[in-house]
Structures are given as structure tokens and as C-alpha cells.
């Protein structure tokens, strides 16, 4: 039981890191980032590059990977996405193009064989808690997940830039009128979102495996999370990520991972029937 809970929490945080970015990007720029799964994937390959090839410490590699991916996407946004801001469909198509480019590039350069990275030696071990054996790796993941999520929440509620971002999410026009620099907000939003997704990828790489296709299933889950949590709502996304994470954890333990996807989708439909805007979806002005 404790195992399932621990797994649930861990998976949830991985989803949180991923989905928050998706939600933020949509909120500020009204763009569906079809390539978000590839951001996640790039993060994983990034840490592999820094850790396995350059022999850096895992955590250092993670930070560098987050920064590198975040920066890459800030640049991409500025040159490729900015012309399409507010223009939902062409922007989505452009992210589609990016998806293909990144996935194929990694396939060609790194090959399709699974790679993996390891958490530092200290974390190779387990701990007994409440009658369950929890790997230190997973606990570490949860801790990092908590740190990053809390950091983001603090940023959004306390920092001036963060509050401006929230305003821009609710109502971009009003925010602009109040003097918010939308360009800056967009760069910030995409940088943070992608850094978070990259972090998720790093952790997933450490816990599971790395390959060019790992982004796809994550993206699908990301969409479901947004459906359940409600577009544009940060707390909604977090709650939904937990719901999805726990559904995954519970079904995988009892029924096998094939059925996890099914139940998650069913949950999405149930939510949609009761609350079509998602649990905490923002009122569309």
C-alpha cells in the first residue's frame, strides 16, 4: 500500500513538472505545444550527455540540462513561435514541425536503443518506511519535484514577474493594457515551462530509460491532465496530475500498465461530463 502511494506521488510529480509547462505555455501564448514531449525527451538526453559523456555529477547535469533546454526554447519561441502568437492553429502546426525535427534528430544522432543514467551512488539504495521498500531514487525524485513545484508556485504568487504572468494568463489584453510586457512574459513562460519539462525528463531518465520516443506517451498524458484539470489553471493542473499519477500507480499495481491508460481516459470523460471546463477551468471571458 505504501508502495502504491509512494509510486503515485512520484509519478504525479513527474506529470506535474510536465503538465505545468504545457498549461503555462497555453495560458500565456494560447499555443498548444505539440512538441512538449520532445522537450521532456531532450531534457533526458541532455542529462545523459552531461553525465555519461562529460562525467558530470547527476544533479549538475540536471541543472545544466534544464537551463540549456529552457534557453533553446526561449530562442525558438522568439524566432519561430512569436509570429503566430494568438493564432492557434498555425502555431500548433509549427510545434508539430518541431516535434518531428527533434524526434528524428535524436533518432539519427543517438539511435533508438534505450539509454539510461543513474542517480549518484548515495541514492542507489532503499529505505524501509511504513512496511514498504522505497528506493532512494524515487524519494529523491519526489523531493526534487516538490522543490521545483513549490518554487514555481512561489514565483507565480510572490514575484512581480510571476504575478504579471498570472495576469497575462487570465486576460492577455487586460494585462497588456496594464503595462505587462507580453514578449518578456512569453519568453519567461516558455523558458520556465521547458526547464520544468526537461527536469521531468531528467528524472524519468534516471528512474526509467531514455529513448527518442519517450515524449509521446507523456504528451498524451499531458493532454489528459489538462482536460481534467482545466486549461489555464495551475492548481487544477497539479490536482489533475495527481489524479492521473495515482490512477496510473494503482492500476499498474493491480491490473498491469495496459489498463492504466484506459482508466485515465475514462476519468477524463467522466470529468468532462460533469464539469466540461475541467475541475478548475477558468471562466472564458
Amino acid at each position: 500500500m505504501a508502495q502504491i502511494i509512494a509510486n503515485g506521488i512520484m509519478l504525479s510529480f513527474l506529470f506535474v513538472l510536465f503538465a505545468l509547462g504545457l498549461s503555462l505555455i497555453f495560458g500565456i501564448m494560447r499555443v498548444i505545444n505539440f512538441a512538449h514531449g520532445e522537450v521532456y525527451m531532450l531534457g533526458a538526453y541532455g542529462v545523459w550527455l552531461f553525465t555519461d559523456i562529460l562525467n558530470l555529477n547527476f544533479f549538475l547535469g540536471m541543472v545544466i540540462s534544464m537551463l540549456a533546454v529552457g534557453l533553446l526554447w526561449v530562442i525558438l519561441e522568439r524566432f519561430i513561435l512569436k509570429p503566430f502568437r494568438g493564432n492557434l492553429l498555425p502555431a500548433a502546426i509549427v510545434t508539430l514541425g518541431l516535434l518531428w525535427i527533434f524526434q528524428a534528430t535524436m533518432l539519427v544522432t543517438a539511435g533508438s536503443a534505450n539509454k539510461s543514467v543513474d542517480f549518484p551512488q548515495i541514492f542507489q539504495g532503499t529505505v524501509s518506511l511504513a512496511g514498504a521498500t522505497l528506493s532512494l531514487e524515487r524519494i529523491c525524485t519526489i523531493v526534487i519535484g516538490v522543490i521545483l513545484t513549490v518554487a514555481l508556485l512561489l514565483f507565480l504568487s510572490k514575484a512581480k514577474a510571476g504575478r504579471a504572468m498570472r495576469a497575462a494568463t487570465q486576460n492577455p489584453d487586460a494585462a497588456r493594457l496594464m503595462g505587462v510586457n507580453i514578449d518578456l512574459m512569453s519568453s519567461l513562460a516558455i523558458g520556465i515551462s521547458c526547464a520544468l519539462a526537461a527536469a521531468g525528463g531528467v528524472l524519468a531518465g534516471g528512474l526509467f530509460y531514455i529513448n527518442p520516443y519517450m515524449g509521446g506517451p507523456q504528451l498524451l498524458m499531458g493532454f489528459v491532465i489538462i482536460i481534467i484539470g482545466g486549461l489555464g489553471s495551475i492548481p487544477g493542473t497539479i490536482i489533475a496530475a495527481f489524479i492521473v499519477g495515482f490512477i496510473n500507480s494503482i492500476t499498474t499495481s493491480y491490473l498491469g500498465s495496459n489498463y492504466a491508460g484506459m482508466l485515465v481516459f475514462l476519468a477524463a470523460i467522466v470529468v468532462l461530463l460533469i464539469r466540461p471546463k475541467g475541475l478548475l477551468g477558468i471562466e472564458e471571458m
Binding site: G97, W100, A268, P276, E284
Partner: protein, 344 residues
């Protein structure tokens, strides 16, 4: 004198209907394709293009009315499964089943629309995605639909008007006729008042509402019509492939549809055709490059995509449909001699 006079009449008539002439010429060319393309590889590619055009055209119609769905691939699937089930399990006539496939798809659109259309814009889109997930789930889970393996041994259309089906060429002609009918309907709609209102709604739904237009009615109609054609395309697909699996109706089909629609241009009724033809030409053309590694295909596609979108955000149709304008400008230039007639 009479032959000359009537000849002149014909020529004048033809000049006014030059568009019609071009259309007929193109149609004739299309129908003659199997005569100069004997390779089955290319024929299959063309057939592929034809039913994709149907899918994209339906998607575009709904989109032009302000209904952006992420589920055309499952309406395609609904049509396919409907046909497959009625023909293999109930032994119904193929043509009837195909029509039914379209109707079922449109009916599903009605049901799902009832529930989800209260949502606006992107919320609606994502919820249609959820709907797509669920449908795939259902097809994968229940033995009635054949679970992962789907439905097999779907026969060719019944002989009709003495025409027999089953050969590749027969499928080509069937696809061609269906695609032509689809585009004809789309064209008629475009020219009608319904099409005009749809364009207005797609441009500025709130403004339309403030003029008393019941936006919901028009948008929904466009959505149903689009799904009907997706269903028919699905019916064709089912027989053409001979078997169908849930895997044929996944996310990747949606991405292709989006790709073709946007590249071709969603504001133009011919956009779907441009998008499908050009992208297929590019992907096929790539295979000719010596030592071509298919793995880099997506990279080239992605880059092309981004470049095209940046240069032509409204799609290739904005380029292609401005070409007549170049001719007009050119001919005007010729008339304006430096010391020519002074204009009145």
C-alpha cells in the same frame, strides 16, 4: 455563315466559362491517370491522397465555421467500423453501408456536439481529443470491434451499374469519384449564402452574433457535414485496406490532417487539395534522393513546414490563388505604353 456564327457563339461561351473549361480538363486528366500510371506503388499513393483530401476538406469546413476539433481521425474510424460491421456481420449491400457510415459519423458528431459544444474554442478542441481517446479505447477493448486486431476480410463494394470492384484501379476510380463529389459539395457550399455566413462566423463569431446570426446552428451544420464526409472516406478506407485496426485512427492521422489543412490554407476551399498534394509530393520526392535515409525525412518535413508557415501563414493557397493576379498585372502593364492613350 451559320457554322462560323455558331462557332463564334461557342468560343464566346467558352471564354466566359474558362474556369469551367479548366475544371473539365483537369477532371479528364484525373480520370486518365491509370492509363499512364501503371505502377501500383504510385496508384496507392494517389488513392491515399484522395481519401486524405476528403478528410481534410471535411475538417476544414468545420474549422471555417469556427469548429476546431481534434477528432476527425475517429470520425474517419467510425465510418470505417460502421461499414466493416454492416458488411461483414450483417451482409448488407456495400453502397448502403457506406452511406450509413457517413450518416453514423454525422450522427456521432451530433451526439458529441450536444454534450461538448457548450465549451468554447480550445476547451472544445481538447475535449474532442478526449472523445477520440475514448473511442479508441472502446475499439481496443471490446471483442465486438475486434479489439487490437480489428476487423478482417472486408469485401470490395458490390457490383453496381455493371461495374465490378476489387482491383486496385477500381478502387482508384471509386476514390476519385468520392473525392470529386466531396470537393464539388465543398465548392457549392463556399459559393452559397451558407458558405458566406460560415466564413463570417469563422472570421468573427461575436460580430456575427451581434448581427443576429445563430452561430451555433451554422457551425454545427458545418461540423456535421464535415463528419459525414469523414465517415464516407472511412467506409472507402475499410474496403480498400481490407481490414481495419484501431491503430489506423490514432493521433498521427490527426497530425497529418492538421498539417495538410494548414499548409494548404484553411481559408481556401481548395486548400485541402493543395496541402495534400504538395506534402505528398515532397515526401515521395524525398525517397528519390540517392542514399536517402528515411530517418531524416521528418527533419526535412519539419523544417519545410516551419519555413512555409513563416513565409505563408495562410497556407500555400495564398500563394497559388494570387497567381492570376500576376497575370492581370502583367497584361495591364503591357497596355500602359509610356506615350500611349491618355486615360479618361
Amino acid at each position: 455563315m451559320r457554322p462560323v456564327q455558331s462557332g463564334l457563339k461557342v468560343i464566346t461561351a467558352l471564354r466566359f466559362n474558362s474556369k469551367l473549361l479548366i475544371a473539365i480538363a483537369i477532371l479528364i486528366l484525373l480520370f486518365l491517370i491509370p492509363t499512364f500510371v501503371s505502377s501500383s506503388y504510385y496508384l496507392r499513393i494517389t488513392i491515399n491522397m484522395l481519401y486524405m483530401i476528403m478528410l481534410v476538406a471535411g475538417f476544414r469546413l468545420a474549422l471555417s465555421g469556427g469548429v476546431f476539433t481534434m477528432a476527425p481521425q475517429v470520425f474517419f474510424g467510425i465510418g470505417a467500423y460502421t461499414l466493416a460491421l454492416f458488411v461483414t456481420r450483417l451482409n448488407w449491400n456495400w453502397w448502403l453501408s457506406a452511406l450509413l457510415a457517413g450518416v453514423f459519423a454525422a450522427a456521432s458528431a451530433a451526439i458529441i456536439g450536444r454534450i461538448l459544444l457548450r465549451l468554447k474554442g480550445i476547451f472544445f478542441a481538447i475535449s474532442t481529443l478526449a472523445f477520440a481517446f475514448v473511442l479508441l479505447l472502446i475499439w481496443r477493448t471490446f471483442p465486438f470491434f475486434g479489439r487490437f486486431s480489428g476487423i478482417f476480410d472486408i469485401p470490395a463494394p458490390n457490383t453496381i451499374f455493371g461495374l465490378e470492384f476489387g482491383s486496385l484501379v477500381s478502387y482508384f476510380y471509386l476514390a476519385l469519384v468520392l473525392a470529386v463529389i466531396t470537393m464539388l459539395v465543398m465548392y457549392r457550399i463556399e459559393k452559397s449564402r451558407f458558405g458566406f455566413m460560415l466564413r463570417c462566423i469563422g472570421l468573427n463569431a461575436d460580430l456575427a452574433r451581434s448581427s443576429g446570426v445563430n452561430v451555433m446552428l451554422y457551425s454545427i451544420a458545418a461540423f456535421y457535414i464535415g463528419c459525414f464526409f469523414a465517415g464516407i472516406a472511412g467506409a472507402f478506407f475499410a474496403s480498400y485496406q481490407g481490414s481495419i485496426q484501431p491503430a489506423s485512427f490514432e493521433f498521427n492521422v490527426l497530425m497529418l490532417i492538421l498539417l495538410y489543412a494548414v499548409i494548404g490554407g484553411v481559408h481556401s476551399v481548395w486548400g485541402p487539395v493543395y496541402g495534400v498534394v504538395i506534402m505528398t509530393a515532397i515526401t515521395t520526392g524525398l525517397t528519390y534522393i540517392p542514399h536517402y535515409d528515411p530517418k531524416i525525412g521528418p527533419i526535412i518535413l519539419g523544417v519545410t513546414l516551419i519555413v512555409v508557415m513563416l513565409r505563408f501563414p495562410r497556407g500555400i493557397s495564398s500563394l497559388l490563388e494570387s497567381i492570376p493576379g500576376w497575370f492581370r498585372k502583367a497584361s495591364r502593364k503591357k497596355d500602359n505604353e509610356p506615350y500611349g492613350n491618355t486615360s479618361s
